[in-house]
Structure formats: structure tokens, C-alpha cells
Symmetry: C2
Subunit: 196 residues, 2 copies
């Protein structure tokens, strides 16, 4: 491509902020260039030029969202001591992010995974890779905790990671379906019950 100007990068960034917000509600496919352009009061073609195709826009939006999770969930969690503290941190920070309603339509990757899990393509592969790393992160934190003797040795770290992720994911869906924050409490209880 071409070397970018500060202004161009700024515009691109503001597009991605709006895009990830819209996509969390309408989905990555329901995210439309026209709707996005209207939201930002800019022309469809001017917006389009930043990405070259809708698929590229989707991929850029995914990367933007991933970075947000790294900054707001993973880094704070991994600042805690390795082991059960970090494991708790990952869950706490994730639920806290949902509670902060950073994405108006709920967890960006929960929505993306649900939308693309049965549809082949680069977008789906990208989402799969991000989710893979997230599950691996939970699993390795669980493994550290076992290694530290903070969890029973008989526990399967992958199974534990799956169950933690399951509780958090479902809290995301049901919170938005019913507008009931009690589901965050349910998720926290499930996490507490599983990590003991």
C-alpha cells in the first residue's frame, strides 16, 4: 500500500472503534459499509478505501478488538503472580469488561465465534486462532496453579479452562438476552466453584 499519514491512521482507528461496536450488536456480516459510513458521517467510498474489501474491514475489526482484550483483560491479569492469581485475574477482568459494557452488543469474540463457527473462510480461521489462544491461556494458567499446588493435582487444566470459558460465555449471552446482571454473579459463582 502507501505510507500513511497521521490523519489517515486516526480516521482508520475511529472507523475500527465504531465498527467493533456495531459488529458486537449486528454481527460482522450485519456490519454494513453504508451503516458504518453514516455513523461516522463520512462517505461509503472514502471509508471503503481504507480497507479495499469488506473482508479486510472485518479482519481489521477483529484485530482491533483483539488488541482491546489484550490491553484490558490479559495484560492486567498477567500482571498478577503466575498460577491461581493469574487464572482468577483472567476471569475477573473478562467479566469486568463485559460489565463495563465496552461492547454494546456483548463480548465481541463471543458474537464473532457464534456467527462464523459454521462458515468456512479467512474470517472464521482468524477468529478460531484468537479463541484458541484464549483457551490456551486459561489452560496454562490452570496448569501453573496446579504446579504451584494451588489446585488439586487430579484436575485436568484443559477441562477446567473449558468450564471457566463456558460459564463466562453463557453469562454474556443471557445478560444481553434478559438485561439481567445477575448472570454475571452466576458466572462468578461458577468460577469460584470450579477453582477451589
Amino acid at each position: 500500500m502507501a505510507t500513511r499519514t497521521a490523519r489517515g491512521l486516526e480516521t482508520r482507528q475511529s472507523i475500527l472503534v465504531a465498527a467493533s461496536a456495531i459488529a458486537s450488536v449486528e454481527g460482522l456480516e450485519g456490519l454494513t459499509l453504508g451503516r458504518l459510513a453514516a455513523e461516522l458521517s463520512m462517505s461509503k467510498s472514502g471509508l471503503f478505501a481504507h480497507f479495499g474489501s469488506k473482508e479486510e474491514l472485518q479482519l481489521a475489526t477483529i484485530e482491533h478488538a483483539r488488541q482491546l482484550y489484550v490491553d484490558q483483560v490479559i495484560l492486567p491479569a498477567l500482571a498478577r503472580p503466575r498460577g491461581i492469581a493469574a487464572l482468577h485475574g483472567l476471569c475477573d477482568e473478562y467479566v469486568a469488561l463485559m460489565e463495563r459494557r465496552v461492547f454494546p452488543g456483548g463480548c465481541f469474540f463471543a458474537g464473532a465465534m457464534a456467527e462464523f463457527d459454521a462458515r468456512p473462510g479467512i474470517v472464521r480461521d482468524t477468529i478460531a486462532s484468537v479463541q484458541r489462544r484464549w483457551l490456551d491461556l486459561l489452560e496454562s494458567a490452570a496448569r501453573d496453579a496446579i504446579h504451584n499446588g494451588e489446585l488439586e493435582g487430579g484436575i485436568d487444566p484443559a477441562q477446567l479452562g473449558f468450564e471457566l470459558e463456558a460459564a463466562m460465555l453463557s453469562a454474556n449471552w443471557y445478560f444481553h438476552l434478559y438485561g439481567d446482571t445477575a448472570f454475571f454473579t452466576r458466572a462468578r459463582s461458577a468460577v469460584q466453584g470450579a477453582i477451589r
Copy 2:
């Protein structure tokens, strides 16, 4: 509109079978009249006449899917003795339905809930009602089990229902995302671990 003759009902039924299959992959919004008509080798307008609007088609598709779950999951499960047997039955039959790949894109209601959880409207309200009844069913089976003394009295049946649902829902996503049936085993392990 109002279908009367046997032939009309038959056509309508075959439309709904195809519609629920497509919707499980592409979503209820991604389900398109043109695509559906092509799949069934009939005209868009002829198909359209059965429902009158896309929203009515979506609602009819939801009702069709709900009936399928009643027949293939709920009724078999509730044929077992009330209490822990029925509770296990609900989970087993549900996972078995997913394993049978009845819906090519995964659990119909998981997809529908994920798609509409943040979008107001009649479709979302209908899905919310179906999911509400499903959660209530799990909860009341858990309550029966506690009443029978098959589960510890200290257990919160609503919390248990949530955790069971969470494990099964997540198995659905991850199975389709990675094509890995091990996630069904994870779900079964989680259910076994939670009901004890």
C-alpha cells in the same frame, strides 16, 4: 397466508425444514428468501406467499425448531423418572442431538440467541421465551433431584441449571469452530462433575 389443504401444509413443512437447517449455519437474518427458494427449487414469490413477511418466516422457523427440540430432547428426557434421571436425560439428549448433527450449523437456539440477544424485536422476544422455558426446565429438574435427596440440599438449582447450560452451549460453539468432537466429551464431563 392461511394454508388449508394438505399439500399446502406439506410444502410449508418442507420449507421450514430447509429454513431451520440454513438458519443454523447462516443465521436467521442471513437466511434469505432467494437462497431458500433456490434450495427448494421453487419461486421466491410462491414461497413468500406462505408467510407474508420475512419476520413471519423467522417466527415459523423458530416454532418449527422448538417443536423438534420438544420431540427429540425434552419428551425423551421427561420420560425418565423425575429428579436426577430427568436432569441427566435433558443434558444427554441435548448433547446427543448435537452429535447427531440434526442442524448442520449447530444448535438452532444457540445461534438464534447469539444473533438476536442484543437486537430488540418480536424475534428476540420469542427466542428469549423459548430459552427461558429451557432454563426453567433444567432448574425444576434440579429442584426435583434435591427434593428427592439425589443432590445435596445446599445446591442452588438455578445456578446448577446455568452451569449445565453453559457447558453444553460452549461445547456447541467450539465443536463447530474446530470440528472437534472432544468438546462433547468436555461437556459431558462438566455435566458429570456438576451433578454429583
